[in-house]
């Protein structure tokens, strides 16, 4: 795992609010589908660190603001159309998480048949890692590895991700390293 320069992290609160942009979205996924995926993505991180994430309806005032943007969208990091760059986010305590609206985002890869479909939950989980202060990992299996193939799903945090997040925030008191490692071993075996 790696951090951004200066190891920035959220210090203002142990509860962070997040919201989906009401304007910058994709029309082929319902709001409830997207919200469900995003909620699951945040829960993966909150299971390992003592940080809670709460959805807010107040987009502008939320700590973390998520939207689907196309091409040049005002932050100097233009998106490039289908595939290529899928998303980007900003380090703490900026809170912006941007997804490329040109991708064919999937919430269920069994239903979404496009060969260029990108699993939304995998990418959102990765980008939340950036929002929390993690940079890219060299560990291929880690959520924080920078690339993701079309139609691939990688949502389960690996020990590299967990150690990185816990180095920044400490461990969630309910997190059990032993059972986590057993679970990871079973994934590796599979």
């Amino acid at each position: 795992y790696a951090f951004f320069n200066g190891q920035p992290r959220w210090i203002r609160s142990s509860t962070l609010t997040y919201a989906l942009s009401p304007d910058y979205t994709v029309d082929y996924l319902s709001s409830s589908e997207i919200r469900r995926v995003v909620r699951r993505s945040f829960s993966r991180w909150s299971a390992v660190i003592p940080v809670n994430f709460t959805e807010s309806r107040e987009y502008e005032s939320s700590d973390i603001r998520i939207g689907f943007y196309r091409g040049e969208h005002g932050d100097g990091e233009a998106f490039d159309g289908v595939l290529g760059v899928l998303a980007h986010a900003f380090s703490p305590e900026n809170g912006r998480l941007h997804l490329d609206a040109a991708e064919r985002w999937a919430v269920d890869l069994e239903k979404e048949k496009s060969k260029v479909a990108v699993d939304l939950e995998s990418v959102v989980t990765h980008e939340i890692g950036h929002v929390l202060g993690l940079a890219h990992s060299s560990v291929k299996e880690a959520v924080m590895y920078p690339s993701l193939s079309p139609r691939a799903k990688k949502v389960d945090l690996r020990i590299d991700d967990v150690e990185g997040a816990q180095a920044l925030y400490g461990s969630n008191p309910n997190f059990k390293l032993k059972s986590f490692l057993e679970s990871e071993n079973s994934i590796n075996t599979a």
Binding site: V82, N94, K115, S138, P146
Partner: protein, 120 residues
């Protein structure tokens, strides 16, 4: 070994999505040091964008030069690829894979070396 054509095909969605520029990098497979290949500067821009070539450089040539080899080696090390310094199939496959837009080269916790800063 994946051939350039089959790698490119991986990213031809077959549903009208053909605007993925990086898949053209597959044509650089096995290009070697000292060679000059038209369009190699685009690959250098890619490595520059993700932190592997100095951000102060913007006028890249099509030469496969020493600086490019160093950038490739750094890329291969950072992404857990076989370190060859060449544009082998593993490296090309990685480069053309869809990815996060954040830079890869930032301070690494396991190293005392501060490699590069990121603006985010």
């Amino acid at each position: 070994t994946t051939s350039p054509d089959s790698m490119a095909a991986n990213f031809d969605g077959g549903d009208g999505h053909n605007d993925f520029a990086w898949r053209n990098f597959a044509r650089f497979l096995d290009a070697g040091k000292g060679s000059e290949v038209t369009g190699m500067s685009e690959l250098k821009k890619y490595l520059n964008r993700f932190g592997y070539l100095p951000s102060s450089d913007t006028d890249f040539t099509d030469f496969f030069d020493d600086q490019f080899v160093s950038a490739l080696i750094l890329y291969q090390k950072r992404l857990g690829l076989p370190v060859t310094g060449n544009l082998d199939s593993d490296t090309i496959s990685s480069i053309i894979s869809p990815r996060c837009g954040m830079s890869d080269v930032v301070k690494i916790n396991r190293s005392t070396a501060e490699l590069h800063s990121t603006r985010r």
